[in-house]
């Protein structure tokens, strides 16, 4: 197909979609803190490799990969709890709380892994269930990604339709109001952070199994990837309801991977340029609303100039006659 020759090969295309689906779990985690709680949570960069490290370690110790993946989620939950504790109980600003936990987790991740990189060669993973059925790694990842994304969307949709879910949403939206209605906002913030980081660790666990290794440095830039997915998704696919937003975020995550894959493959970038590309993509997305406004203003001005140039002297004279300073 032509489109593949210009933009990317079919294999990178499907690879990008699989990756986008797996990474969408991270993006949904970021969505919970960034959008629902209105909390810029940098714990992400620590809880993502934490999930990878825990899953790899447990798989290598002979645990069932599914069990290992769930254990990884539990660790993420704890990371979120600590950030929440620092923020709500010790009153450390949210951004700083996240940075503290993220930094601390770097050492913890190294402790868990025992070294900086833990390969999962020839180990059973959540993907081998599918590849045992004769699927390629990419296809297996795609199926796993779809299942995970759908399950996570459904669970979050259900949760955010409950009394508790309403309270978490209101905590991010208007803490004064929901406190006045009898909700402990500290508790809700903690709950949201735990949920978010459990998902982010889940994403870390899945990506580690997809890539075949856990690396202590794999968390760097994940918050940017998550935010880019959230913002691309919401701008392009809408954000009227929670479930709509979640769906948008998943689409955003896929689209983000496609953009990156296209840039890497056909535009002469190297894999090491990935983080730079991530930042540029996010910067562009974040500035879109402003650019759009400026663009509209320029277009409007041009239209006005056109209108006035059609009958120039008349309008000018008219205003001079009617308005102006009465004293002159």
């Amino acid at each position: 197909m032509n489109i593949f020759t210009y933009i990317m090969s079919p294999s990178s295309f499907f690879g990008a979609i699989s990756q986008g689906l797996l990474w969408s779990v991270l993006a949904m985690g970021v969505y919970i803190t960034y959008r629902i709680l209105d909390f810029a949570d940098l714990t992400t960069e620590g809880s993502f490799p934490l999930g990878a490290a825990v899953a790899a370690k447990y798989i290598l110790s002979g645990y069932n990969p599914i069990a290992a993946t769930f254990i990884a989620m539990g660790y993420g939950l704890l990371a979120g709890l600590i950030t929440g504790f620092l923020n709500t109980k010790l009153k450390i600003p949210g951004l700083l709380s996240g940075i503290l936990v993220m930094t601390g987790l770097y050492s913890i991740n190294l402790r868990i892994m025992g070294k900086a990189n833990l390969p999962l060669l020839k180990q059973p993973t959540v993907l081998t269930f599918f590849s045992d059925m004769g699927m390629t790694n990419t296809r297996a990842a795609m199926i796993l990604g779809i299942i995970t994304a759908v399950v996570v969307i459904l669970l979050l949709w259900a949760l955010f339709s409950t009394e508790l879910g309403f309270a978490i949403r209101a905590t991010g939206n208007n803490p004064h109001m929901i406190r006045a209605l009898g909700v402990n906002t500290d508790f809700m913030t903690m709950l949201g952070l735990m949920l978010s980081n459990a998902l982010i660790s889940l994403a870390g666990a899945l990506i580690a199994q997809y890539n075949g290794f856990a690396d202590v440095g794999m968390g760097t830039g994940t918050i940017v990837i998550g935010l880019a997915s959230v913002i691309i998704g919401e701008v392009l696919f809408g954000r009227t309801t929670v479930v709509r937003s979640l769906f948008s975020v998943v689409c955003g995550s896929i689209l983000y991977r496609l953009i990156i894959a296209a840039a890497l493959e056909r535009r002469g970038f190297q894999p090491t340029d990935l983080k730079l590309l991530s930042s540029i993509v996010l910067a562009v997305c974040l500035s879109l609303p402003l650019v759009k406004e400026k663009y509209n203003r320029i277009v409007n001005r041009k239209n006005k100039v056109k209108e006035s140039s059609q009958e120039p002297s008349l309008t000018k004279d008219d205003t001079l006659l009617k308005g102006g300073n009465p004293s002159c």
């Binding site: 339709s161 309270a167 208007n174 009898g182 909700v183």
Partner: protein, 264 residues
């Protein structure tokens, strides 16, 4: 219903910005009392209300609502007794959530939040009826986000939310101040109607002396962290704004005309 005993509050104590906002305020409100509170900027009106609501803890004294000592309770635990409407219309609702979602959260004021459904069909029907009473057409826009409402609509909705499950005490913090005069009047009428129909005990701060005289069965004027004047229904019945100003000057020894309170 509300018993306040000698509460004091000093902000930033021991610093250059030290502010003694409440200097030993005591107040007893009987059930169904509707007290209006006036006073200039910095008189301590809002501080008093916030102290009752539990936004901060007081330095000394006691706050008792319906026989329950709430002095040490955090804000969210006092919510079971108190309904509140704020000055800023944006404060009273979660703007990114729908009208019905906002109402469902208000219906659960003071109850613990569980994994039960956030809003049921039955509740929606109930909300529709409530909104119909407001006569603002909101019953047809229940799934619209609260952020789309005008200031007046939001205050009316917040008022409804604050009183839907009957509170022991309704706190109104200049809730009409941010509205245009016409809307303010409407919201005030609605306030009066709800308080009378539900037989609520209410404390209303206002900067409008006429409103303070016209509404409620008791009027208090605060000045520099104290309650300066406390008028019962019969005392305030035939009072004019000018009388009130004279009383203030006599009681405080200050000139009312210099005070920002004069926003009649």
């Amino acid at each position: 219903m509300l018993k306040i005993e000698n509460i004091t509050k000093t902000f930033s104590p021991g610093t250059a910005n030290e502010k003694r906002a409440l200097k030993g305020v005591s107040l007893h409100m009987k059930p169904k009392d509707f007290v209006t509170v006036i006073g200039g900027n910095g008189a301590g009106k809002s501080t008093l209300l916030n102290a009752i609501a539990g936004i901060f803890s007081v330095d000394s004294g006691k706050i008792i609502i319906d026989g329950n000592d709430v002095t040490k309770l955090p804000e969210h635990q006092r919510a079971q007794y108190i309904g509140r409407v704020f000055q800023d219309p944006r404060m009273g609702t979660a703007t990114d959530m729908t009208i019905e979602e906002n109402m469902s959260m208000a219906l659960r004021r003071g109850k613990s939040r569980t994994l039960r459904k956030g809003i049921t069909k039955k509740e929606k029907d109930m909300f529709r009826e409530y909104l119909h009473m407001l006569d603002l057409g909101l019953e047809n826009r229940m799934s619209a986000k609260a952020g789309l409402l005008s200031g007046g609509q939001r205050q009316a909705l917040t008022l409804l939310m604050a009183t839907m499950t009957k509170p022991k005490l309704l706190l109104l913090d200049e809730h009409t101040a941010a509205l245009d005069p016409k809307t303010a009047k409407k919201v005030l009428e609605l306030t009066k109607k709800i308080i009378e129909e539900e037989q609520l005990t209410a404390l209303m701060i206002t900067h409008n002396m006429k409103d303070a005289l016209k509404h409620g069965n008791r009027l208090m004027m605060m000045h520099e962290g104290n309650i300066l004047i406390d008028l019962q229904e019969e005392q305030k019945a035939n009072l004019q704004v000018t009388d009130l100003l004279k009383m203030f000057e006599k009681a405080s020894g200050a000139s009312a005309t210099n005070d920002r309170m004069l926003l009649v």
